[in-house]
Amino acid sequence: MTRAPLPSLISTLKIIQINDISASYDSKSLVLDHVNLSIDRGTNYAIVGPSGSGKSTLLKLMNGMMIPSSGTIKIDYVAPNMKDKKFKKMMHTIGYIPQNLGLVKNITVLENVLIGSLPRLNKIQSFFKRFPEDEITEAKKIIKQVGLSGKEERKSYMLSGGEKRRVAIARAFMQKPTILLADEIVSELDRATAKEIMNLIADAQKRINLTAIMIHHDMKLALEYANRVAVIKGGHKILEIGVEGDTIVDFQTGDMTTEEIMSMYSDDSEK
């Protein structure tokens, strides 16, 4: 008689579960107001919404830089909190790219990418800046993947906007990530460059089972690359849709039509 194997918690489909969370910076006004989200492993999940709607806060809750004032958020069944030891270990494999990318200006591309491997270094190695050979090889491989080969020794302030984004993505890839959180990293780029960057992430998602949660300004771009799109406005999730190819396959909440959603963002999309 064979028994079905016990379900492993880690292999469950949902990697992020957000249950009725509210968050605020000053305990007076809520930036997020009772939001629910759940994200499947391997999805490209887009969050779209006007500025000040609470999108960035949502990412900061996911990487533990903020904790919610009410409600629960779980990443692989652990509540994100930077000060929590268990979650701090998980942070090693959660890539986070802030809106301004967070590159260290005065060091080279290679050094910026190697920052992603710091948690794997021991104290002595990190004190003397002695990165193991295999980490350097890995970093160079990733730099090549993101299309920056030959620029390893370039100081990062000398790069163009598109190149800087590639470095930030390479740094996140260096973390061997399971989750990638990216805050409007393609918003300021022209459409062609934005698509190149998005393709890099899409490729990585195919290669490793990466879950990407990306904030977008451009609804069109979000619909093009994401499996699911959540629209956040004034701290509320007003809509969530599932996308397969060119068709919207699932309407979760809200009562807006596709045209209405598109028109909300069409002014910004034609850059």
Binding site: N63, G64, M65, M82, K88, K89, M90, M91, H92, I94, G95, Y96, I97, P98, Q99, N100, L101, G102, L103, V104, K105, N106, I107, E111, I115, G116, L118, P119, L121, K123, S126, F127, K129, K155, Y157, M158, L159, S160, G161, A168, R171, Q175, E188
Partner: protein
């Protein structure tokens, strides 16, 4: 000109006259004293050339004192600046360090020199110690202010990877704040050189020691030779640091400007 401005100017002028009277600052005496400089010039021409190598040697000693003082002072200041930065430490760490640094800064270097002459006796070592103290107080302050104004974004990005605090300092804080350090090193060396030149007045070594002694014995010509050596050296150091600044600091800022346009 509003009436209010007139009143302010009137008050300032009145204070100026009253204060000048109190300290016996008399412009007429200044004008009458000008020809006395002629005596110095006359004596300068009478000084035997054998004093020039002595002056150069004394200046070399002064430069070395300033060099040691600046280098050691900065080496002590940098770790302190990391501890004094509000964005890296809790209040219980940065508050006492800041208080200590503020206390160090209240003394001008000449007072430190007097203190160290009492401690270790006359001579250049007392001067070096004074320069170290002064450098620690100022560079640590300048540097913790730089650290506090570095971009929060790279710090956020790195700490969200879960790096240790030491790694954060080593790989983000130091590289981000280092570009300002070169400017501060140059400024501090420049400043310390001038300071060291006068520390001899209180017996703490350097070229100032010769100058004060010649003046005491009314040997204005010799004193002038030594002062001219100081002047020339300071000009050379000034010129060199401008060149270094142009090469490294201005260039990198220019680089940032160019990339800012690309964004």
């Amino acid at each position: 000109m509003t009436p209010k401005n007139n009143i302010i100017i009137g008050v300032v002028v009145a204070l100026l006259v009253a204060a000048s009277y109190n300290v016996e600052a008399n412009p007429i005496e200044f004008a009458e004293g000008l020809p006395n400089l002629g005596i110095v010039l006359e004596e300068l021409l009478l000084v035997e050339p054998k004093h020039v190598p002595v002056a150069l040697w004394a200046m070399f000693e002064t430069v070395q004192m300033a060099f040691i003082g600046t280098a050691v002072g900065i080496a002590i200041a940098l770790p302190l600046s990391l501890l004094a930065a509000r964005n890296l430490n809790s209040k219980y760490v940065y508050a006492p360090i800041r208080a200590l640094l503020a206390a160090i800064r209240t003394f001008p270097s000449i007072l430190w020199a007097i203190l160290f002459v009492i401690m270790v006796g006359l001579g250049p070592f007392a001067g070096v110690l004074a320069i170290i103290m002064y450098t620690v107080g100022f560079v640590a302050k300048l540097q913790y202010e730089v650290i506090e104004t570095i971009d929060a974004d790279p710090m956020d990005a790195a700490s969200s990877i879960g790096v240790s605090k030491w790694q954060l300092i080593r790989y983000v804080v130091i590289p981000e704040s280092a570009s300002h350090l070169l400017g501060q090193v140059l400024y501090m060396f420049d400043y310390n050189l001038r300071q060291t030149s006068i520390l001899g007045l209180v017996g703490a070594g350097g070229i100032g020691f010769y100058i004060i002694n010649y003046i005491k014995f009314f040997e204005y010509g010799k004193a002038a030779i030594f002062m001219i050596v100081v002047l020339i050296t300071v000009l050379i150091v000034d010129w060199t640091s401008v060149k270094i600044r142009d090469k490294y600091i201005v260039k990198s800022q220019h680089g940032m400007e160019v990339t800012a346009k690309l964004n």
